[in-house]
Structures are given as structure tokens and as C-alpha cells.
Subunit: 423 residues, 2 copies
């Protein structure tokens, strides 16, 4: 018997028929003797509809009132799931964010969860009642509804799992787990039985859109075992003895799973991610002086623009250098305008931007203890004449920037090179 | 300067454009220096949509979870109206039922309002902030959302007006006031400047669908001055000096208004209502014995069927009598089945039902001090050969049951007979 938090997204909650399917999955867990809490999103499309009403009402909307409006979507689905579970003969009730309450700060529309008063919730779960909890919402100390920002329901689920000390947090999505790479690009991509929090963070932030990054960070901080699995396959009645999806756990937990033969020994590299949403900027003939680079990046930091890869080339002329870096494509226009305004202070010659680039990353905790991971990457890409425009590395990741047209080729080449192809 | 509670129904809140219109009406009151609270319904059609979801989830739905779902409609419109008011430059915020809170009993889906903690609300109104309050909802002492039953927003508005000691509760509807009779039947019907609570209760319960009956009863109990007016005409910026709609007040208040020439002297009869939703039942040859009538009406009372007009005729045979009464048409099938089951105990011969009847009522506090009102009614109808099938009276009302086909004729004849026709 375990205590489990389950989370279902908007696609799973879109309409009575799908809610009934979710209720069946939830009840199978309760029937197996587990204590169950379920966190739900709004019906697919509903939050967009509500956000649109807010924009029509007031383009510069007050986030506190925006939260009153948009939090209603999850309120509706939590009531409906409780009703549907009751129709299946289960004991169930909804617990709204303000009822529990889920305390948050008062950054309306992008609140962060603080303390959760879970005593009554735990008592209810222990009595065999399924708790249905709207995701995405909480209560500020001004006694007003807050929301966590789009996609916040994953974070709600992890926070509740931490608060009730759940054995596991199962996130049901429209994919059935985390893969070694995008299966649409590499047909032989394999579903991973387990990844570490750190790996998941790198995979999520570089384009493997399975879980909200924030929720993974919280799971790592709180030590919550997270499982990603599909609500649409037949394998959706997991129990403590099988892992139908992908477990996201700590390094130590992963080692324990290996020792207990729950998962096979890990590869050096866990997965390969790609991201086409970066833009490359190059400033030519910047003075090669102390403080020159700071003149470029300080105003971008002030504007909260997230600069990723940075390289500084030796220029053709002495005392000058070219500086290249990447920013999210969405920030490109703003970034360009900030740099043009600072042209005199920075003292560059030309500003060249390029959105036809892709970032390819190989991720794996294994590389901490193995040399040669980067070298394999560079060699494999060079063999296929793929030109590397920039490089960045972290403890468990190596990323390269390449021409966008070569994305699929690069991912396939690397997937094979690191021995990730399925048999 | 006054303290005003305004209430807008679902038609007025249906979509961004109409909400903007409502916001303009509300702001004009705030601009006039009044302290303003606004009670809103869900967008027209939204509550039906949510109720339908509940039925799909669970035909025998748990009313506590039903309330979680359906209360969201008003939550959305209250947030949107606050945002729209802010867009017009007004200070505004929403106050949800659980926030204030509006305490109710725990009869989910049909809760009754108890105490309202209005201190923070009053302080906010006094600071010049417009309070936007979702109608129809409250909080039980189990800390769960309750709703008041369909049409409950009128009651919310009156209860809040009582709690904040408002000078007036303005109910904006899709009619512009209470008329002497249905203007679709009598073109020369006049809008009434004022009616008493008692008159309004009689007019509402017999078919003049302007206000929820429950809200009028509460207004009478709490002494809240209610005004019914339209949100669609140009006359919708009332102030303390004019009465664009119809005031619903106490007897004493009405006399004061007459003395102060705010309204012209009242007619003997205030209005004429009709109701085609009654059914007539006749049980023939019931034993004329003590307890016989009780054998008929006790089981109907147990089934909460509201019996209205009752007449007992002397039967053709000695020791037997015919009993005729009316019930709402919606209850007719249930009523018939209950009576058939009790046939032996009651001992009747035939059970005859007729839905082709209409109840016509003349209402007016003036009849308390004047004889001859009923007599005028009977004579006027007899002159037109309209047959009276049953009669019932109260202190301020005389009702007759007639053939449904003669409804319009009877209303017109009586409107003229009592001198109500507009010049």
C-alpha cells in the first residue's frame, strides 16, 4: 500500500468521456489499496478561453482578478472528477486551493507555493476518500486566489506530493515517458525507465517538453519521486512493482534501482535534446579591453534576457574581437534594440543575427565520471560535415549550436554514436 | 451620497461588450459619489452548461461537488467585471462568497444565507473601491462552497444590501420595472413607480416574473428598499432623486413616498397577474365526513406538493361531496399517482384533471380598506360570460380560476374595470 499523487493534464480532462477514463485510472489505484490524491488541469482550451476574456476586459489586467477568472477552469474539472469518481462508486471530494489551503506568495498570476496545510487532506485520504485537487492555484496571505503561471499544475502535484509525503507522484501526459530523444526524429529512440532530476532539468530546458521545468526543480529539492506516464495507453494502471512510464529520481535512488535490477545499467549518455528556439547574435570588432564584454551583457541581464552560449573569437585586427552568443528567439527583437542603443558604449562594428540555428545537447550524469563524451560528439558531427558554431558545457551536458537544417541529421548521428538506438 | 447594491443578471453579463456596458452603469453610480457593491450572475447559458457537465459526470450528483462546479460561472463574471471597471479607471475588486464570507447553511445546491461578515467589504466600499460580488454562492460551516439554487443571485443582492445597510438595492433586469399587468397582453399597461413587498410577493408568485420570490421575502424581512430597473434602456443611471424603475418598499415607506409626491396616489388595485402553470384536479363523491379532506391533502403535503386553491362542493348525493383544488402543472403526474395510491383511504369515485386553466389575480394593498373589490371582479367577468371555476382570496389578493383560452380577455377586462389603463 502506498500514498500516491496523480496528475492529469488538460487533454485528459477535455469532456465527460475523458474524465470518465481518468476516473477509471484513479479508481484502479484506490482499488489496489493505495491512498490517492489527484491533481487536475482545466479542460484543454478552457484556460485560453478565460485568459482571452481577461484580455478583452482589460488588456493591462490586474493579475489578482485575472487569477479569480482563470482559476475557475481547474475548479470545474476538480468538481467534475469528484462527481465522476462517485458515480463509479468511489468516495471522493474536491479540495480547492483556498480550502486546504495551498499557501503561496502574493505574486498573482505567477505565484510560488509556500506551505501547504495538508493535515485535513491526509486524514481524508487515510479514511479512503480520494482527494481531487485543482492544479495551478493557491491562496495568498491576503486571502485571495493565486495562480502559478501556465503549466503550473505539474508543480502543484509535486508540491502536494511533498506535503502529504507521497511515495510517488505520477504525472499523466500525452506521451508515455521520457525518451532518449524525440521519437519523431529517431524511430529507434528508447523510452527511459529512469532519469535523475538533473538530467530531466537539462532535457526539459533544452526542448524535451514533458514536464514543467519548475516542477522538476521542486521535486529535486523535496526529494519527490516523479513518474511520467501516459493516460492514453493500456499500461496506465501502474503499481509499485512495475514502471510503465519514466521515473524521475535522485542519483542515489537511481543507483538503488540499478542494484535492485529495476532498471538496466545506464548508458554513458541518457538522452539527446534539440532546441530550435534559439537565435545567434554576433557583434564584430568589439574592443578587446577589460569591461567590454560586461558592457554587452549587463544591459541584457537588466532586461531579464537569458543569454545562453557565449563565445569570444580573436578578431582579424589586433585589439579587437568578435563576440557571439545565443538568446531565445522570442527576445531577439528586444535584444537587438538594446544593443543598438548601447552601440556607442560597447563600440562594436556590425550586429549580425541568425535564427536559422539549432542547439543539440547530449545529457547524462554518466559523463561526470567519464572523459571523451564531448570528443565523441565533435568527431561524430565532423564525420558528417556538420559545422559547430558554438559550444557550451555543464557537468552533465554538452551542447553545440549548428545550422537548423542539420538538426535531424545531427540527432540521429549522435543517437547512434552514443549507443542509444533500440535493438 | 448613498450606499447602493446593484445586481445584474446573466443576459447583462453575456460577453465582454455587455460587461463593458454594465461597468459604465456601475461607474456612473460611483462617479456620483455613491458607495457601490455589484452582485453579478454567470454569463447567460453558462450555468446550464455547467449543470449539464455535472449531469454527464453523475446523474445523481453530490450537491456539494455540484456547487463547486456551478459556482465557477459567477466567479468568472465577477473577476471580469472588476477588470473591466479597472479598465474604465475605477477602483474595483472581487469578493468571492468564501472570501467575505457569506455564511449559509449546508443545504448544498439550495442553501439559505445566514450571517454575512461584511466589515472588510464595508471598509473597502468606504475607501472608494467598487466591490464586485458573485451572486448565487456562499460558504457552509464545513468550509465548502454552497449555492442558493437557480435564480439565487437576486437573493444574494438583497442579503448583501441588508448586511452593508445599503440605502437601496437596484436589480437590473431585462424589463424596466413592474407593470400593472403583462404589457404583451395589455398595451395600455402602466409601469408602477412603487409597490409594497406584499404586493410584489403576490404579483411574483402569480406569474409576474421580475424578481425571485425568495429575494422579495428577504427584502421584506430585512426592510431593504429594492428597485427593479432595466440595464438596456437609457434611463439606467438612477440617482436618489428619480425613480426610473419600480421601487419595492414597505407600506410605511410607500405612504411616505406618496406624501412627498414621489409617486401619485395609488389605485385601489396595483396590478393584475395571470398564471397558466396551474392544473385543476377534482375528486368526485368523496365521503362528507370529518377527516376526509385531510386524507386527501396530508399525503400531498408529505410529498411537498404545493396545493393552492381548494373548493368543496356539495355533491348530488347526500353524505358525499366533490373536492376541487389546483397544483403546479409540473407536479400533476406525481400528484395523480399519490392520489390513486390513496384511493381506498380517501374513498373518491373519479379523479378528473384539467391543465387548460388559468389563474387570474388582482392584487393591491388598497383592498384592505375597501370593500367591493371581489364583487367588481366577478361582475366584470360575468358581463363577458367568463365562467369562474374556483376562487381564493388573501388580504391583498383575489384570484379566480378560469378557462385558459379566456386569459387575455379576462386580464384586459379587469385592467379596464379597475381603472388601470394608461391615458
Amino acid at each position: 500500500m502506498a500514498r500516491i499523487v496523480m496528475k492529469f493534464g488538460g487533454t485528459s480532462m477535455a469532456g465527460s468521456e475523458r474524465i470518465r477514463r481518468v476516473a477509471q485510472i484513479v479508481r484502479s489505484q484506490a482499488d489496489a489499496g493505495h491512498e490517492v490524491a489527484v491533481v487536475v488541469s482545466a479542460m484543454a482550451g478552457e484556460t485560453d478561453r478565460l485568459v482571452n476574456f481577461c484580455r478583452e476586459a482589460n488588456p493591462l489586467y490586474d493579475p489578482a482578478e485575472y487569477d479569480v477568472v482563470v482559476a475557475s477552469g481547474e475548479q470545474v474539472t476538480s468538481g467534475l472528477l469528484a462527481l465522476t469518481l462517485q458515480a463509479l462508486g468511489a468516495k471522493a471530494r474536491s479540495w480547492l486551493g483556498w480550502q486546504m489551503p495551498i499557501h503561496t506568495d502574493k505574486a498573482y498570476a505567477k505565484a510560488r507555493i509556500g506551505n501547504i496545510d495538508a493535515e485535513a487532506l491526509i486524514a481524508s485520504m487515510q479514511s479512503g476518500e480520494i482527494a481531487v485537487i485543482p492544479g495551478f492555484q493557491g491562496l495568498s496571505d491576503e486571502n485571495r486566489i493565486t495562480t502559478l503561471g501556465r503549466g503550473g499544475s505539474d508543480t502543484s502535484a509535486v508540491a502536494i506530493a511533498a506535503a502529504v509525503k507521497a511515495d510517488r507522484c505520477d504525472i499523466y501526459t500525452d506521451v508515455d515517458g521520457v525518451y532518449t530523444t524525440d521519437p519523431r526524429i529517431v524511430a529507434r529512440a528508447r523510452k527511459l525507465k529512469a532519469v535523475t532530476y538533473e538530467e530531466m532539468l537539462e532535457l526539459a530546458s533544452v526542448g524535451a517538453k514533458v514536464l514543467q521545468t519548475r516542477s522538476v526543480g521542486l521535486a529535486m529539492k523535496e526529494g519527490v519521486k516523479v513518474q511520467v506516464l501516459s493516460s492514453f495507453t493500456d499500461e496506465n494502471a501502474p503499481n509499485a512493482d512495475s514502471i510503465p512510464g519514466t521515473m524521475i529520481v535522485s542519483d542515489e535512488e537511481l543507483e538503488k534501482m540499478e542494484l535492485e535490477n529495476e532498471i538496466v545499467e545506464r548508458q554513458l549518455i541518457t538522452g539527446i535534446a534539440h532546441d530550435k528556439n534559439e537565435a545567434k547574435l554576433t557583434l564584430t570588432r568589439v574592443p578587446d579591453l577589460p569591461g567590454a564584454v560586461s558592457n554587452i551583457f549587463a544591459p541584457l541581464a537588466d532586461a531579464a534576457i537569458n543569454v545562453d552560449m557565449i563565445i569570444q573569437n580573436v578578431g582579424r585586427d589586433k585589439g579587437e574581437t568578435d563576440v557571439t552568443f545565443t538568446v531565445p528567439q522570442a527576445d531577439l527583437v528586444r535584444c537587438t534594440s538594446i544593443l543598438e542603443n548601447a552601440r556607442e558604449k560597447i563600440g562594436f562594428n556590425r550586429l549580425i543575427s541568425d535564427t536559422k540555428v539549432a542547439k543539440i545537447s547530449v545529457v547524462g550524469v554518466g559523463m561526470k565520471s567519464h572523459a571523451g563524451v564531448a570528443s565523441t560528439m565533435f568527431t561524430s558531427l565532423a564525420d558528417r560535415k556538420i559545422n559547430i558554431q558554438a559550444i557550451s558545457t555543464s557537468e552533465i551536458k554538452v551542447s553545440v549550436l549548428i545550422d537548423e537544417d542539420e538538426t535531424e541529421l545531427a540527432v540521429r548521428v549522435l543517437h547512434t554514436a552514443y549507443g542509444l538506438d533500440a535493438e
